[in-house]
Symmetry: D2
Subunit: 184 residues, 4 copies
């Protein structure tokens, strides 16, 4: 079984809604166990448990919320013990152009510091909408493509875990099992 | 007279349309001279001429187009001769979440390398739309708020030049001369 | 009088030592008042008081310390009231290649979110040593060039404030008042 | 056999020297085939051939050289056909604080855009020296720890390929097969 952790911090509920969708997406891959937890409920055991992790924070001042950053600083005693897990990011910002890509990049930097292999999603999930460096959103996801971006991120995470941690090569995204772009 | 250069590279015309809007916005500030040039038409004289510069590139692979990067590499003989100018960035990406914020950040990095002081726009120009780290767009600007983001960026550039290069303190954005957010 | 705030967070004293050096450098510019404060001692009044700010944080997991981030989140009620100040960054990391540049970039992102104009230092302060995107250090500054990088950053901040906030054009770094590189 | 491509662009030979060391490091992992090529000699076949790639560019103006960027833009017809490879970065800058971390981040962004899973090295390879977000250097590697940073990056790439692409779990860096830090 692939083990996916969706770990988030949310203040106004937007990033939490994204987390639920990422969780749904991860669940689309068979033989995957998914935990969705806010940092208030997650422990170091959850981090050690997972094969890979989708990390979500609201964009605050163009970067990660202090509360999320603090969670990882408290994990420093476990640094160099987590290498090789797979990671990705998502973030809700106040408005488009508000820094959610920069926040995803900061989240990925934190994960890389812990030795994670990190990725984005090449797919387009709708007209002019993608999650190349993580799923980004202004406010909460409402349109189908906005929801799909979160789901696809979770699905891709579960797929990479299936392929790389579990050796299920038949699930590789390049196998053409589903439509990856509106124009396909 | 404040001197503004809007310098862009465009392949499909989207970033060029943004450049035209940035130019319009800069022109909203009195006693401002504005040049709008593609890198094919701009020379080092334009760079030396200006007090400040709005730099635009399409997002390609999450960062600056090679052609735009090359333009600045060819200016290396003039490095350390341009310090103190003011700069900002804009970029058109294929889809939201496609890297335009990262591209703006790379454009600002190039300008910082040349000694520019760089900025973003704190204002919201419409519902859930801003240009905190430069104006970003998926494709070309169509909605009013998308156009306004480009215009506001150009206007803010002309304002900082007026305030800092020309000492016209009465034009400082904090003076409340105009509505900076939909909710004001 | 130009007003410079050097604002830092430090755990092991390394970033604090950098802050002291940045403060010294700012003091090299006449008619400049400099305050050096840790975030534990600084208030919003200090932020409003200054014309410009050098912001320092240890590099922790490749980005800003949670404590420093929290300081700025608590300033959110003053967002859009601070636009136009000038900012720069410095950071001490555990080792070279450890993320101090990324941390400086995150600090600058926070300042840009508040409407600051941010900059780096084009000068080389010694053999193979610069502060292009802020002053970076592994541990504490020990060699002359490492100390000089911090001092030059503070000096440059005070210079931009003199030139732009106080109209003292004769202090512009391009005026050739001092040697900016070892090879000059 | 794990297949590693070390792909670089170099003008003054510094990044090329790093590439040779990265290549040596990858060769430390048994059953690994390594190709080391400059972008002038590499083709799309090399990219498709490899399981993972270490990408190196000089830091120019704080980001990727235009020539390297152009190489990847020309690969755009193969976009969405390369997903799932593993990638990392290295860069030589003019001086410490000169942008090599930012360049590595830009290189990783390009690889992420093509669907790569990217990583850094948590290990310290000597006193105050690491490659957390890629191997960085001022000029060419001379000291033992500087050379080791490049080698460790290549070795780690070959290890992740062994573990994830070839299922050789016994080579996982957490297995304690070798000393990962000076203090171990």
């Amino acid at each position: 079984m692939g083990k996916v952790l969706v770990l988030y911090y949310s203040e106004d509920g937007h990033t939490e809604k994204m987390a639920r969708l990422v969780t749904q997406g991860a669940g689309q891959v068979t033989q995957t166990e998914v935990r969705c937890k806010s940092i208030a409920d997650a422990s170091r055991d959850d981090i050690f448990w997972c094969d890979g992790l989708a990390l979500g924070s609201p964009t605050q001042l163009g970067t990660v919320a202090a509360a999320m950053k603090k969670f990882w600083e408290e994990l420093l005693p476990d640094w160099q013990k987590l290498d090789g897990r797979i990671g990705c990011a998502f973030s809700s910002q106040g408005g488009w152009g508000g820094g959610a890509e920069l926040t995803c990049q900061a989240l990925l930097t934190i994960l890389m510091n812990f030795g994670f292999l990190v990725f984005g999603v090449t797919d387009y999930v709708g007209d002019q909408f993608t999650a190349h460096y993580g799923a980004t959103q202004a406010g909460e996801p409402r349109e189908a493509k906005e929801k799909e971006a979160c789901q696809r991120l979770g699905r891709r995470l579960a797929e990479w875990i299936a392929v790389y941690a579990d050796g299920r090569r038949e699930l590789h995204p390049l196998k053409g099992l589903y439509k990856r772009n509106p124009w396909d």
